[in-house]
C-alpha cells in the first residue's frame, strides 16, 4: 500500500515534469532565437527576419501559456506530493526556488510589453532591447531550477543533525558541485532544441510547399545556431560525464553498465543484459569510457560493484543515456552535413533528404531532452536528496495520488492537443509570404500617409 503510493507519486511527478519539460525547453530556447532574428532583421533591414521574430513570438506565446500553468502545477506538486521532502529540504533550497519565481515574473512582464509594442517605438532597437530581459529571465529561471536539481544530486551547504539540516548556507547549497556542469548542459541543450525546432519547422514547410526565400533564410539562420550549440552541448555533455565520474560515480557506472572497477574501461553502446547479468550484443569502444570519465584512456573508472545493492540506480538508465548522447551526436552530424552542402557548391543543401533529416531533428531534440532529464532523475534513485533522504521517505501518504495521476494525464492530453490545434490554426491559413506582402503594403501605405502629412 505504502509502496504503491510512492510509485504513483513518482509517476505523477514524472508525468508533470515530462510534459512541462517540453514547454520549459521551448520557453528557454526560443526567446534567444526571436532575439537573434529581430536583431538581424534590423541590422540587414530585411523584413524576412523581422517577420520571423513576429511569427515565432506568436507561436511562442501559446507554448508559454502551457508552460506557465504546468510550471505552477509542478511548483505546487513539490509540496503536495513530496511534503516530507519540502519540509526537510525547503530549509536549504528555498532561495533558488524563490528567485526562480522572480526571474519568471521579470520575463513575463517584458514578454507582455514586447508583444504589444511592435510598432510603438521610433527606434527599432528599443523594441529589440526588450528581448534581453526576456532571454535573461528565461535563462535565469532555468539556472535557478537547475541548481535545485544540482542540490538533490550533490547536497551541500548544511550540517545534518538528528534528521534535520542545520547551519544552512543557502549560497553554498545553490552553487554546489553539480551546478556548473548541469547548468551548462541544460542551457546549451535548451538553445540547441529551440533552434532545432525552428529549423525543423522551416524544413518541414519547404518539404510540403516548396522552397521559398523566407524559409531558406530561417533554415540557414537556425542551422547556424544548431551547429554552434550542438558543439557547445557536446562539450557540456563531456564536462557532465567528467563531473559524474568524480562526484557521483554510481550514476555514470549505471549509465555505462560498468560493473567492475577497472582502468582502460570500454564504452558500451546499447546491447542488453542476459540472465547472468552479462552484456550481450553491445558495441564496445575500447578504453573510451576512461577517456570520457577522466580524459585519459588508461584512467581507473569506479564500477557499480563498489556500491551497496540498495544504493544502485536502476540499470535502465543505460538506454536513456545512450539515446540522449546518440541524439546529440546525430543532430550535430546533420548540422555539419548541411553546412558542408551549403559551402560545397555542387550540392544542393535544400535537397529532399537533407530537409527530411533536418525536419526529423526537431522531435529528436525534444526526445533527447526528455531522455537526458529522465537519466538525471532516475540515475539519482533511490535518493531524492543523495545520501540523506530516500524517495520513499519523501512521498505523501495519501492514496489519492493514484487517481490524481489519471486526472492529470487527462489534463495534459487535453492541453497538449489544444495547444497543437491552436498552433495549427494560427499558422495554417497564414503563409509567411502572404503575410510579408501584407506587411510591405501596410508599410507603404504608412509611408505615403506620412509623406502627405508633411
Amino acid at each position: 500500500m505504502a509502496v504503491d503510493t510512492v510509485l504513483w507519486s513518482k509517476w505523477l511527478t514524472g508525468l508533470t515534469l515530462a510534459f512541462h519539460a517540453i514547454f520549459a525547453t521551448v520557453g528557454v530556447g526560443v526567446p534567444l532565437m526571436i532575439a537573434i532574428a529581430e536583431f538581424i532583421g534590423i541590422r540587414k533591414k530585411d523584413p524576412h527576419y523581422t517577420l520571423m521574430a513576429k511569427r515565432w513570438t506568436r507561436g511562442f506565446i501559446i507554448s508559454v501559456a502551457v508552460g506557465v500553468v504546468t510550471g505552477t502545477a509542478i511548483a505546487l506538486q513539490l509540496s503536495l506530493v513530496w511534503p516530507n521532502f519540502m519540509q526537510l529540504a525547503g530549509n536549504v533550497i528555498a532561495l533558488p526556488l524563490f528567485m526562480e519565481v522572480f526571474a519568471f515574473f521579470f520575463e513575463a512582464i517584458f514578454l507582455g510589453i514586447y508583444m504589444y509594442t511592435w510598432d510603438r517605438f521610433r527606434n527599432p532597437y528599443i523594441h529589440w532591447l526588450l528581448t534581453i530581459p526576456i532571454v535573461a529571465g528565461a535563462s535565469m529561471s532555468a539556472f535557478f531550477i537547475t541548481t535545485v536539481n544540482g542540490f538533490m544530486n550533490q547536497p551541500e551547504g548544511f550540517t545534518f543533525e538528528n534528521g534535520h539540516f542545520t547551519a544552512v548556507n543557502p549560497l553554498q547549497a545553490m552553487f554546489n558541485a553539480a551546478t556548473a556542469s548541469k547548468v551548462f548542459h541544460v542551457l546549451s541543450s535548451a538553445y540547441l532544441t529551440g533552434a532545432a525546432l525552428l529549423a525543423g519547422i522551416a524544413a518541414f514547410t519547404m518539404l510540403r510547399k516548396g522552397v521559398s526565400a523566407y524559409y531558406t533564410k530561417a533554415l540557414k539562420l537556425m542551422m547556424g545556431v544548431v551547429l554552434l550549440f550542438g558543439l557547445l552541448n557536446t562539450l557540456a555533455g563531456d564536462v557532465s560525464a567528467k563531473f559524474l565520474a568524480e562526484h557521483q560515480p554510481e550514476k555514470l557506472a549505471a549509465a555505462e553498465w560498468h560493473f567492475e572497477t577497472e582502468s582502460g574501461a570500454d564504452l558500451i553502446f546499447l546491447g542488453w543484459l542476459n540472465a547472468e547479468q552479462q552484456i550481450v550484443g553491445a558495441i564496445h569502444i575500447p578504453k573510451a569510457l576512461s577517456f570520457l570519465a577522466f580524459g585519459d584512456f588508461n584512467a581507473e573508472v569506479t564500477g557499480l560493484e563498489e556500491f551497496p545493492l540498495d544504493e544502485r540506480p536502476p540499470l535502465l538508465v543505460h538506454y536513456l543515456f545512450d539515446f540522449m548522447a546518440g541524439i546529440g551526436f546525430a543532430i550535430l552530424g546533420v548540422a555539419l552535413l548541411y553546412f558542408l552542402f551549403l559551402l560545397w557548391k555542387k550540392r544542393n543543401e535544400l535537397n529532399k533528404w537533407m530537409l527530411r533529416a533536418i525536419a526529423l531533428t526537431a522531435p529528436l531534440a525534444f526526445l533527447g531532452v526528455e531522455m537526458g532529464w529522465l537519466y538525471a532523475e532516475i540515475g539519482r534513485q533511490p535518493w531524492i536528496v543523495r545520501g540523506y533522504m530516500r524517495v520513499e521517505e519523501a512521498a505523501t501518504s495519501s492514496p489519492s495520488v493514484r487517481t490524481l495521476f489519471f486526472v492529470f494525464l487527462l489534463l495534459y492530453v487535453v492541453l497538449g492537443m489544444m495547444c497543437a490545434i491552436i498552433l495549427r490554426r494560427l499558422f495554417r491559413n497564414k503563409p509567411a509570404d502572404e503575410e510579408l506582402e501584407k506587411l510591405m503594403k501596410e508599410k507603404q501605405a504608412q509611408a505615403i500617409e506620412v509623406g502627405e502629412s508633411v
Binding site: 505552477t72 505546487l76 528555498a94 522572480f102
Partner: protein, 338 residues
C-alpha cells in the same frame, strides 16, 4: 529589531493581498465577460476587458506562486501539513488554474469567439477562489487529523462546517465586487459610457452580498475559533476602518463619480479587513500545529530570502511601473487607439 520570521510573514501576507486584488480583477472579469456574452451585452464590455487582461494575464498567476513558494521557503513545516492535507483540493486548484490560463491564451491568441473557451474561462474564475479558500479555512484548525507520521484532511468536518462554506461564498462575492469596481474605473478612464453603466451596475449589485458574507463569516469564526475572533475584536479599529472604506466606495459608486477613488477605497477596505484577519491569526499559521516561531526556517535562509526579495523588488517595481505606463494608465491604449 523585528525578527526575520515576522518580516517574512508580513511580506508574504502582503503578497497574498496583492494576489487577492489582481486575481479578483482577473477572475471577475472572466465571469463578467461570459455573463455579458450570455445576455448579449458583450459588445459593451468584452473589448474593454480584453484590452486590460491581454498584457497582464501571466502576471496574476505569479503572485500566487510567489506566495506559496515563499511560505514553503520561510516556513517549511507548512509544506508538510498543508501539502499532505491539501493534495486533493490543491490539485483541483492546479487543474482549474491550468484550464483557465491556457484557455485564456487559446481564446485570445488562437481562436476568437469560442463560447466554450469563454465558459471555461468564466466558470474557472469562480471555482479557483472557492478551492483556494479551503487553505484559509484549514488554517483555523480543527480540520486536520494527525495520525502518527501522516496528516489527513477531515473532509466530513470541512464539508459540514458553516464556516468553510461561508468563506467560499465570501471569496466568490468579493471577487465579483472587486472586479466590478475596477472595471467600472477602467471603463471610466476609457470614457466608454455604455461599459461604465454596465460595470457600475455589477459593482453596486455585488457590494451588499460582500458585506453580508463578510459579517456572517465573522460570526461563524467566533464560534469556530474563539481566540482568533477575540484577537480580531481587539483590532476593532481596523475593522471599523474597513467598513468606512466600504461605505465611501458605495457612496462614490452610487453617485457615479470618482471611480478611481472608489476602487482605491475598495482596495483599502480589503486591506484593512485582510490584515485584521491576518494579525488576529498571529502567531499561528496553522492552528495549533505551526506557529510563526516554531515553523520558521533557519535564520541564514530567512535573511537570504529577505535579501533576494528586496533585490527582486528592485528589478520588478520599475518593470511593473513600465507596464502601467504603457498599458493601464496610457489613455490612448485604454481607449483602444494603440
Amino acid at each position: 529589531m523585528i525578527s526575520y520570521e515576522l518580516i517574512g510573514i508580513s511580506v508574504l501576507w502582503l503578497f497574498l493581498y496583492g494576489y487577492l486584488i489582481v486575481a479578483s480583477i482577473d477572475f471577475g472579469a472572466g465571469f463578467f465577460a461570459f455573463y455579458a456574452r450570455l445576455t448579449k451585452q458583450d459588445h459593451l464590455i468584452n473589448r474593454l476587458i480584453s484590452r486590460y487582461l491581454s498584457p497582464v494575464w501571466e502576471i496574476t498567476n505569479v503572485f500566487l506562486v510567489f506566495f506559496f513558494v515563499g511560505i514553503v521557503g520561510f516556513f517549511p513545516d507548512t509544506a508538510y501539513y498543508y501539502g499532505s492535507a491539501l493534495l486533493v483540493p490543491g490539485s483541483i486548484a492546479i487543474i482549474l488554474l491550468a484550464i483557465r490560463g491556457s484557455f485564456y491564451a487559446f481564446e485570445n491568441y488562437g481562436s476568437k469567439d469560442n463560447i466554450v473557451y469563454l465558459f471555461l474561462y468564466g466558470a474557472s474564475g469562480l471555482l479557483i477562489p472557492a478551492s483556494l479558500s479551503v487553505a484559509l479555512t484549514l488554517s483555523e484548525g480543527g480540520f486536520i487529523i494527525v495520525n502518527g507520521e501522516s496528516v489527513f484532511l477531515d473532509y466530513m468536518a470541512l464539508f459540514t462546517s458553516p464556516l468553510s462554506w461561508m468563506i467560499v461564498i465570501l471569496a466568490i462575492v468579493s471577487v465579483l465586487f472587486i472586479s466590478g469596481t475596477f472595471l467600472a474605473f477602467y471603463a471610466s478612464r476609457a470614457e466608454d459610457a455604455p461599459a461604465l453603466r454596465l460595470m457600475r451596475k455589477f459593482a453596486l449589485f455585488w457590494s451588499t452580498p460582500t458585506i453580508i458574507a463578510a459579517l456572517t463569516a465573522f460570526i461563524y469564526l467566533s464560534q469556530h475559533n474563539e481566540r482568533h475572533y477575540q484577537n480580531m475584536m481587539d483590532l476593532w479599529w481596523l475593522l471599523a476602518l474597513s467598513v468606512s472604506f466600504f461605505m465611501l466606495a458605495m457612496w462614490l459608486l452610487y453617485k457615479g463619480r470618482r471611480y478611481g477613488l472608489a476602487f482605491i477605497s475598495v482596495m483599502l477596505q480589503f486591506f484593512c479587513a485582510f490584515f485584521a484577519y491576518g494579525i488576529g491569526h498571529y502567531p499561528y499559521i496553522l492552528d495549533p500545529y505551526i506557529s510563526i516561531q516554531s515553523g520558521a526556517t533557519h535564520e541564514s535562509m530567512g535573511v537570504a530570502l529577505i535579501a533576494a526579495f528586496i533585490g527582486g523588488l528592485c528589478l520588478l517595481i520599475p518593470s511593473i511601473i513600465l507596464v502601467f505606463k504603457l498599458f493601464l494608465f496610457n489613455v490612448d491604449y485604454v481607449k483602444g487607439k494603440k
